[in-house]
């Protein structure tokens, strides 16, 4: 009698243990993603008013004790009536896509070099990639303002070398935004790429060479396809946050740099219209759900194989 009870107990413990171990990630997602999202979604369905809080409640007691639920879809319809929002979303996607390609072009050779460096040096090289993260993000972006402005370091250097006669206007243009995003998000590209390139089986390349394949073709036929999971992971890690980026376009971009983060800011702070601002935020999430799902599917496929 004792033995089966003990078994059952330990089985119960194991099951509960599994549940408890799985709990924190779910609790985290519910608490810091789902609940805030539902709050924002709720506000996006309400109407603006001048009071604390600056939106009307969805549920209200009408006469005769009737509980009224008022859902206002006008905020979403409004996003469609003015093409500003569509243009801003598309422009954000464009800026994020170009920045992602930029990160890939710079990040891939970096990750490749680190992964093929002598084992003893790799950690030091990785350290150099991560080290700038020890400084505040805001300060690093401000430093770019000092480099790019017309009296800044870059223009002073180019004028000194005689390459240009007039200072280049880089700050307050889209180019400055690209530079800022590529610089800030580069480590998110390098680290997953490094992880896949580092665990690649190098004997495959030897086999390719033995069969008469030149190094460049071997790279295209072997290394590149094998590193694809890293490319996708890195690209998503850059692309998704870059779409909603606010700080970089605000500090480095010009007044005509149209991104959805800035439109959101104007709705929230200039119009003080929380419901429309929330609708913009929800719509942005919907726009981003597609690439996130692609990412998820690719990842689960990679895990299966």
């Amino acid at each position: 009698m004792n033995q089966p009870l003990g078994n059952r107990l330990s089985g119960l413990l194991r099951r509960w243990g599994r549940f408890l171990v799985g709990l924190p990630p779910y609790a985290w997602l519910v608490l810091f993603f789902l609940v805030p999202f539902l709050i924002v979604f709720k506000i996006s369905l309400s109407e603006m008013q001048a009071a604390i809080p600056p939106y009307k409640p969805l549920l209200a007691w009408a006469e005769d004790g009737v509980l009224q639920l008022r859902l206002n879809l006008g905020n979403y319809r409004y996003l469609l009536t003015d093409d500003l929002y569509a243009v801003a979303y598309l422009n954000s996607l464009k800026i994020a896509a170009i920045s992602t390609v930029g990160c890939l072009l710079i990040g891939y050779p970096m990750a490749y070099t680190i992964a093929r460096a002598p084992k003893g040096n790799r950690n030091a090289l990785l350290m150099l990639v991560v080290l700038p993260f020890w400084t505040s993000f805001l300060i690093r972006v401000y430093a770019w303002m000092g480099i790019l402005k017309s009296e800044g370091l870059l223009n002073a250097f180019l004028l000194w070398t005689g390459v240009i006669n007039e200072p280049l206007q880089i700050l307050e243009t889209d180019l400055a935004v690209y530079i800022g995003i590529v610089y800030s998000y580069l480590p998110f590209m390098v680290l997953p790429l490094y992880a896949t390139l580092e665990k690649m089986d190098l004997s495959l390349l030897e086999a390719a060479a033995d069969l008469g394949c030149r190094p460049f073709r071997a790279f295209l036929a072997v290394t590149l396809p094998l590193s694809l999971p890293g490319v996708i992971a890195g690209s998503m890690l850059v692309f998704i946050p870059a779409v909603g980026e606010f700080v970089i376009p605000d500090l480095l971009g010009g007044p005509d740099t149209l991104m959805i983060g800035k439109v959101l800011w104007a709705e929230f702070f200039d119009n003080r219209d929380w419901p429309v601002a929330s609708a913009v935020a929800v719509a942005m999430l919907v726009v981003l759900v597609a690439p996130i799902m692609v990412f998820q599917r690719y990842q689960s496929k990679a895990v299966d194989s």
């Binding site: 604390i52 801003a88 402005k149 702070f269």
Partner: protein
């Protein structure tokens, strides 16, 4: 024997979590017992603009009253508005700009009425300023004027002398809004405030219309003026111009006079030959009044009243004016203000200029949305 150390580790871990749990429990009990304190503790939470007080103001207040002050700063009215609208900001005294921010917030019921019996220095306030404030705060029920400055134009005297034809007037909005004039300054840098409530009224004043107008036709006319000079504008920003003007990075800036005075001072201190001129255009300019007010849910309203009354003392407010370079509305403080500040026609403007200054009344949410949209259109072309 690899198991031994593992067990030790897990035992140590268990001990630690036990200890942690116990301390968390104590903390929780402490927090439960906290609210049972006296009705008004000796505490005051102040939320003010950055660089907007004398270095010893808080110190003196605490020394006299024993009230400890938590002092936070912000740099835009929008930030303050967002915190107040969310509710439970915890602040006792805040300093919004009168128009349109205070006006909207008073309408939305964000402030509590002031108890005048607790503000003994009320009588020394300039009646003209109090009257101007009534467009934002009917009956002066919720706010006292703190610092005052117009919105004007700052420029680099030497560069403008070099680039503009002789005889171009400096005291007019045409310096900023006439494409023929401002296009000559494109190369040396022109900035506009990133605030439709400042730029559109100024453009209307340039057109000879009522700056405070809220008709959509006038808005469209103002937007057209700004769109025409848009190619000559390097950036729209509400504080960057202070340093850029002082360093010579830009040569013409639409800005708050108090900030322009700071730019002029910094340029002088740097001693690199940058000389800044400041004008309040003759067509009329927005009179900016920043006020002190008490949020409706302030936890320490009594202390807040004491602090506001303290700020209105001539010696205290004069010290603040002497530090930040903005005018104040306390008449008996005038003799204590530095001579060069009192004599500065852009800080304490002569009557003829003051008569032309105006306030912008709060807009309806619909007009505000149209205005923000027009502003985005001016800036981005979309």
């Amino acid at each position: 024997m690899p198991i031994q150390p593992n067990r030790q580790v897990s035992r140590a871990f268990a001990g630690m979590t036990g200890k942690m749990a116990r301390s968390l429990l104590t903390l929780g009990l402490l927090m439960l017992s906290l609210p049972a304190t006296a009705a008004e503790e000796k505490l005051l939470n102040v939320y003010n603009w950055s660089d907007y007080i004398a270095p010893d103001t808080i110190e003196k207040f605490t020394a006299e009253t024993g009230i400890k002050v938590n002092y936070d700063v912000y740099d835009s009215n929008e930030t303050l508005a967002a915190k107040l609208q969310a509710g439970q900001s915890g602040y006792d005294v805040v300093f919004p700009s009168a128009s349109p921010f205070l006006a909207q917030q008073v309408k939305a019921g964000l402030y509590q009425p002031l108890d005048r019996t607790k503000i003994t220095n009320w009588g020394s306030l300039d009646p003209a300023i109090l009257k101007a404030l009534q467009t934002s705060d009917p009956g002066n029920a919720h706010a006292v004027p703190y610092m005052i400055a117009a919105t004007g134009i700052g420029f680099n005297i030497d560069k403008l002398n070099k680039l503009l034809p002789p005889g171009t007037p400096r005291d007019s909005w045409s310096l900023l809004f006439d494409p023929a004039v401002v296009s000559k300054l494109k190369g040396c840098g022109v900035s506009l405030l990133d605030a439709p409530v400042e730029v559109f009224p100024a453009a209307l004043a340039y057109l000879g219309k009522t700056g405070a107008s809220q008709s959509t036709e006038d808005l469209a006319a103002a937007a057209e003026v700004v769109s025409k000079i848009r190619p000559n504008i390097r950036y729209f920003h509400s504080s960057k111009y202070i340093n850029d003007l002082a360093n010579g990075d830009i040569c013409l800036a639409h800005g708050y006079v108090g900030d322009l005075v700071q730019a002029r001072n910094r340029a002088r201190e740097a001693g690199r030959g940058v000389d800044i001129g400041i004008v309040i255009p003759k067509e009329g300019a927005i009179l900016g009044v920043d006020v002190a007010a008490i949020p409706v849910d302030a936890p320490h309203p009594d202390n807040a009243h004491r602090f506001i009354d303290f700020l209105l003392r001539p010696a205290i407010i004069a010290a603040i004016t002497n530090t930040v370079g903005y005018a104040n509305a306390v008449l008996p403080a005038r003799p204590l203000v530095k001579k060069e500040i009192l004599a500065d026609p852009v800080v304490y403007p002569p009557e003829a200029v003051r008569a032309k200054e105006f306030q912008v009344p709060p807009a309806s949410p619909d007009f505000e949305r149209v205005r923000t949209r027009a502003w985005t259109k001016v800036k981005t072309g979309h």
